[in-house]
């Protein structure tokens, strides 16, 4: 599993941080920062949930 984030598309809603804190963070302008590109176990499930809750479509997963 590999997480990808398009920082130009991100709108800084923060849903991903709330869903998967070990995988995503925000910079000072609220734009997504990936902490763990290839999460495993519980973090992988949380990351999938985060991708589903992203309002801007900035996040994607390559399995």
């Amino acid at each position: 599993m590999k997480i990808k984030a398009d920082r130009d598309v991100c709108i800084g809603a923060g849903n991903c941080v709330l869903a998967a804190e070990n995988v995503f963070d925000q910079d000072d302008d609220a734009i997504v920062v990936i902490l763990e590109e290839s999460p495993e176990g519980k973090d992988a499930d949380a990351a999938r949930n985060a991708v589903g809750s992203c309002p801007s479509g900035a996040l994607s997963i390559e399995e």
Partner: protein, 396 residues
Amino acid sequence: MASAQTPVPPLHMRRDRFDPPAEMAGFRERPGLAQVTTPLGRPAWLVTRYEDAREVLGDATRFSSAGLPVVPVPGATPEEQRSGNLLMLDPPEHTRLRRLLTGEFTVKRIRRLQPRIAEIVDAHLDAMAQAGPPADLVPDFALPVPSLVICELLGVPYSDRAEFHGRAAKQLDLTRPMEERGKVAMESRAYMGDLVDRALAEPGHDMLGMLVREHGDDLTRTELVGVASLLLIAGHETTANMLAIGTLALLRNPEQAAMVRDDPAVTAPAVEELMRYLSVVHSGVPRVATTTTEVAGQAVAPGDVLVVSLPAADRDRALVEDPDRLDVGRAASHHVAFGHGVHHCLGAPLARMEMATAFPALLRRFPTLAPAIPFDDVDFRSASLVHGLRSLPITW
């Protein structure tokens, strides 16, 4: 009786207590899109299904927020009315303005605010406890808590609250003539204009001051006024109504209220489920098609208006099982109550933190909390752009 003076909101803007009107389920089941008439008298396509709502709101290229008609207000051009109002702008203008603000609402920044939010919540609970039952949850708790939070954050004097609460309620009230609502919106802008001028002269340590100091060259005065007016109204009306109607929904389901009261792990999912179940921004989110396209198999022409019903989408079985039941234990975080796409609520992390602080604190302070009037007598304010309660007498 409907008359020109007291317009009755169209079906898709109505509510049956907590629920969308029963007809919405029928619209969701039938193929294609239903046709409705907007309060401006224009035909529009009604979007009720979860996946369709995400498709329309998620594509700002095909479905624009700019170019929607605004209510004519004497002395104000449509450009002036739209300026700085993020909800009426498309990328790239929208992106430029929103990015100036997002840094104020990161999850980290909002977590740093949590102790102050808890202090404000506790102070209002203390006052209610001292005055003793009964109380009215709306003026005593639900409205003042988010109002004080957004005032401090933005740099608006809390002593002006009676004034801006009154204007906000009128602006959102669909039973008022459009001209009056447009006029009040411009009064709100004039009030904010004075605050912006003060911040321009002497920028403080609040959000208005930050915008002037750090982005003074990127923002015109009208944009600053538009942005700040939107933040003030969106910052208190939405959360205030969620706190009031959310508390009532919990009190109608005592076993679920007990879960929120007793188990801190339930707080976050409960906030999401209450957001989904109640979807208080319920008047229909408008978009205008920019191109010949299709939604749910329905041909849509350039210039067609689409209205997305967030409450209908959030009661779709495609989102959760048994969607008409409140279940604070389930995972409902993919709801569209905060919207979807580039216009997803900017203040969502703040709203979530306020609710996550306020609901458990209220239920813990008053474990025997109950409505002081029969459910049939509760004053729902469904004819408002933001659903909620005008008043909720409570006892404990």
